[in-house]
């Protein structure tokens, strides 16, 4: 299945590059270990054999499109279900135009959790990532072309395409109704414990900004945390400023987070950043009506609109 998808990816890459339809192709390549499949940027026809796809291709490639904002050539990008929501996010935020992109949807059989690797030398069985077990959009929600017979479905669905059988066997999407479980558990803690917990996380934070740089919703041209002219925040990685950063990041992506879980994956010190985002999503669903970001190009995010009749005071 992965072999077939890799072949199909190389075929389409060859067609697109040889006809000069696109300037760059963003995909994945096999990394230096059996559990690594990092992003690859292909600009040369002779390099298409680098393209590779397996169940470790977890990186969301949507954010790399920002580097091609001002490119005069089209960019082709391979997307899984969760990545395609990031593409909608970028188009909706006017960071990119549809015409600049060639979005190629591929089926996803769920991604393995590489933090569970025991033996780095020999391949072995691994469990799926939590986000894949909780996945509600395993099929691309937006694509110009598709590979592996996957259907483009802008609604909550079951896996389709040639990997559907494997995905179902791996229980992709079986826990989708329990995705707020972790948040609810943290919510029940008493305030003092919450303070201790989040202060401990703030002390661990390195302010490497990996969470910001990977996020398809964090797409400001200039981030306030890059500026030295903002007197109300500091670039120093002090615990109080790190807490400030975490809340600001969560609030800036509120209502626009596509739940790809990349922020938490890239965090080098393991701060549960998605729990902040999911807490906000839970509030949005409960208070302003159910909303999933990155599905509909026309529907404005919940914080850009309002209803007259809503609970007024908090």
């Amino acid at each position: 299945m992965n072999q077939q998808l890799t072949t199909e990816m190389r075929q389409i890459a060859k067609r697109l590059l040889s006809s000069h339809t696109v300037g760059t192709i963003i995909g994945w390549e096999k990394g230096s270990r059996w559990y690594l499949t990092p992003p690859a940027f292909i600009t040369d026809e002779n390099e298409i054999d680098r393209l590779y796809y397996d169940q470790f291709a977890v990186n969301n490639l949507a954010i790399y499109l920002l580097d091609f904002r001002h490119s005069d050539k089209k960019v082709a990008v391979f997307v899984k279900g969760c990545d395609s929501r990031g593409i909608i996010r970028l188009i909706q935020d006017h960071q990119l135009k549809k015409e600049q992109l060639m979005v190629i949807g591929i089926p996803c059989a769920g991604m393995f959790d590489k933090t569970k690797v025991i033996d780095p030398k020999h391949p072995h069985e691994l469990p799926l990532l939590n986000k894949c077990l909780e996945c509600r959009y395993p099929n691309p929600v937006y694509a110009d072309e598709v590979l592996g017979e996957v259907s483009v479905l802008p609604e909550s669905s079951r896996p389709t395409g040639i990997s559907a059988r494997v995905a179902t066997a791996h229980l992709v999407g079986t826990r989708s109704d329990q995705r707020f479980e972790r948040v609810e558990k943290l919510d029940l803690l008493p305030s003092e414990e919450k303070v201790t917990l989040w202060r401990a996380y703030a002390e661990k934070c390195l302010r490497c900004y990996a969470c910001r740089n990977i996020c398809p919703a964090c797409n400001c041209e200039e981030c306030i945390f890059d500026s030295h002219k903002k007197p109300w925040t500091t670039k120093a990685a002090l615990p109080f400023a790190n807490g400030f950063f975490a809340v600001t990041r969560a609030m800036h992506t509120a209502g626009r987070c596509t739940e790809c879980g990349e922020c938490e994956r890239v965090c080098p010190v393991g701060i549960p950043l998605m729990s902040l985002n999911q807490r906000l999503i839970k509030t949005i669903n409960n208070s302003f009506g159910s909303y999933d970001a990155g599905l509909d190009l026309e529907l404005p995010p919940p914080l850009s609109q309002f209803q007259l009749a809503e609970k007024t005071e908090v």
């Binding site: 948040v183 943290l186 919510d187 305030s191 003092e192 414990e193 919450k194 303070v195 201790t196 917990l197 989040w198 202060r199 109300w232 925040t233 615990p239 109080f240 807490g243 400030f244 809340v247 600001t248 969560a250 609030m251 509120a254 209502g255 729990s275 902040l276 807490r279 906000l280 509030t283 949005i284 208070s287 302003f288 919940p302 914080l303 850009s304 309002f306 007259l308 809503e310 609970k311 007024t312 005071e313 908090v314």
Partner: protein
């Protein structure tokens, strides 16, 4: 750091108000002769919708124990709709801070009419009472 906060037995909560300048109640937030009126300081903003969530965090960083945000009641905004957007944003902000351990009593959002100067005074007194019971705020506080 002032002496008041060094002496824990005589701790008085510091309340910060982020107050819309179009609700005239900002003009009469406190009467200096009032005995026992809480330590309340006002920041004027052009509209409650102008309040960046970072203002609230900054207040907590700089030692505030509770933050009050007031604006005109929905439908009476000077800029037509600023407070409707603010309403959604503060709903999220309150719940997020509660998730991280700042009790909901520490962040007040109130819509106070231009003619209700007394209501603001009562709100501030009420806040002070509740925050006194909770004790000083610890999360996000700047430590040097």
């Amino acid at each position: 750091m002032d002496f008041q906060s060094l002496d824990s037995s005589n701790w008085q909560p510091l309340l910060i108000g982020i107050i819309c300048e179009n609700s005239p109640s900002f003009a009469m937030p406190f009467n200096p002769t009032d005995e026992g009126y809480p330590n309340f300081r006002c920041i004027r903003v052009p509209c409650a919708g102008r309040t960046n969530p970072q203002y609230i965090l900054r207040a907590f960083q700089k030692g505030a124990d509770a933050v009050l945000i007031t604006g005109c009641p929905p439908g009476e905004c000077h800029y037509t709709s600023g407070n409707y957007f603010a309403r959604r944003r503060f709903k999220l902000m309150t719940e997020l801070l509660e998730f991280m351990g700042i009790e909901s009593e520490r962040l007040y959002v109130r819509w106070i009419k231009s003619t209700e100067g007394e209501k603001l005074r009562e709100t501030v007194n009420d806040m002070a009472k509740k925050v006194k019971r909770l004790g000083p705020n610890k999360l996000f506080k700047e430590e040097l």
